[in-house]
Symmetry: C2
Subunit: 356 residues, 2 copies
Amino acid sequence: MKLKIAVLAGDGIGPEVTNEATSILRAVAEFGGHDFSFVPLLIGGVAITEAGTPLPTATLDAALECDAVLLGAVGDNKFNSLTPDKRPEAGLLQIRQALGGFANLRPSIAYKSLAASSPLRPEVTEGVDMLFVRELLGGLYFGAPREWDREKEVAINTMRYTKAEVVRVARIAFELASKRRKKVTSVDKANVLEVSQLWRAAVSEVAADYPDVTLEHQLVDSMAMHIMNTPRNFDVVLTENLFGDILSDEAGVITGSLGMLPSATIGGAVNLYEPVHGSAPDIAGQGKANPLGAILTAAMILRHSAGLEQDAAAIETAVVKVLDAGYRTSDIARGQTVGQTPVTTHEMGRLVHEAL
Amino acid sequence: MKLKIAVLAGDGIGPEVTNEATSILRAVAEFGGHDFSFVPLLIGGVAITEAGTPLPTATLDAALECDAVLLGAVGDNKFNSLTPDKRPEAGLLQIRQALGGFANLRPSIAYKSLAASSPLRPEVTEGVDMLFVRELLGGLYFGAPREWDREKEVAINTMRYTKAEVVRVARIAFELASKRRKKVTSVDKANVLEVSQLWRAAVSEVAADYPDVTLEHQLVDSMAMHIMNTPRNFDVVLTENLFGDILSDEAGVITGSLGMLPSATIGGAVNLYEPVHGSAPDIAGQGKANPLGAILTAAMILRHSAGLEQDAAAIETAVVKVLDAGYRTSDIARGQTVGQTPVTTHEMGRLVHEAL
Ligand SMILES: CC(C)[C@H](C(=O)O)[C@@H](O)C(=O)O
Ligand SMILES: CC(C)[C@H](C(=O)O)[C@@H](O)C(=O)O
């Protein structure tokens, strides 16, 4: 199996965590006799600094030649005064758009041995296994017109969806649900927004093709509450772009740390893989970052871009083993510390490697 | 003290809970020798049924003649197929706009005796006392153009803010914070949205006038997580309309039930008071609804429209007493039931009355 992976480490803790993820991928390749190669490329704040733009053409061209793109994190407070189109985050939005993946998959799982890391009671989180399917190329993130008119002192952004955009991402949600617990919860604000009414109608139409999958609609405000109160009620959660941004971060509370969460963006020319966490500039370069989000993201590469389901599952099992053995980066060290061993980013990566 | 209060009971559990709230207000009036009168008016689904429109002119005209408006809840699944401009919720948005109040105050408090009702651990919620200041007349709720073009199969909504709109609501947040723990957390998505960049700049400008209040900015996705992880870190939370809708419902998880949360909307011609919960059609008319949100909303009327701070505080103390004595509507009966007495909507109202 041959796989060329673009590695866009990005800002802050991005390089540290992608390093551990690629180490794991190398180990899988060696063990399985696969040929994985890695192409380091610039994005985000480092790209602004080194190449004058958050997504250099060279990065995009090379990424489009690869079989998968692994992205670390983007964002650097240094650039806070720039307008959105010039900031590190613009590089992320541009590459998302250029690669064309519209379905961002974000699993939210409660690990038994991390139950103490969550602010939620263990009886609430026990057994939770949700999968967010977040639409990634529409809504307020990309809608035009968008402008901050400093003279007139007014700003606008546009939330826009076509039916086709909703249908294609809904299909992915239903496909995934039909292989899971057969329930899709679609999130909108249909009591206020016209966009949400289109969303609800389009999702309901797709649902007709999946009679064995139950569809439920939830308003985004209620959903923000239900996710905390009764997370076990949810299987696949389908959302537009911004709602998915907010709710999937909120769901990080179930796992106990954003540092644990992987994501995969599928449906485009090249799949894009990124841990859900940000660049966390406050802890960058200190070996404090949790690499498990990135490592679990690597597992998603194997699953969705290489068809190596067994290897993907092996990584996920190795992560559970390491957690069960009590190893903790600081973000998941909350709660009682008896039987826990604090570890650095790199040590955590090595432990997963050994457990493989 | 004379006070004319428009009572727009609305749909679902709206009538039941406003009934208990007005009973308490009558008791306060009698005890204090005040002259409170109540003007029942139609809004929402019942208004569509009885008058053909979710906000009849008669309602609006009469409400504008009152000193305060108490609203129960709007929303009825019967009208789900209507477009947003014809639904019960349109009545709510229209009266919000017509009354002109732009600052929606939503306290989120952890009651000691309700600690078991929250899915969050008691050590996380202990001592939480947050106040959301949600901008209520701007953003996606009111921005134009807004349309679902069924022919072209595309829909748009517009998120729009002027600097003046942000400044006026920010001032209220800073004023309130300066009388509390002197911290404002402003929520936006400034790494992506132009509207958020204007928002952040305007809020920062206002902050300069309040040197004793600390201002912090949080991205909405991170904030959704922080509210659950470290709710004690927050004092006043300032948000645009939709972000406030989502986050204040999420914060209901801290108190244990949305049924406990009051709100007041100030800054306009007539203040508008509404419990945060919705119409809850599934339990309407069964005596199951929690009237404490509406009763605490009545306390906010006394505080913000009548200057009766002592009476407002007395209601709040009475609510705490009743909770401490173990009385519970079903929404707050989660957790251990030892020492708890289940009560109906009306019984709960009567208990608060007695505790006064
Ligand atoms: C960095 C930011 C642009 C991004 C987003 O909002 O999509 C991030 O929060 C995420 O969720 O991947
Ligand atoms: C009913 C609905 C229009 C309303 C809103 O979104 O503002 C409600 O959710 C609220 O928070 O008061």
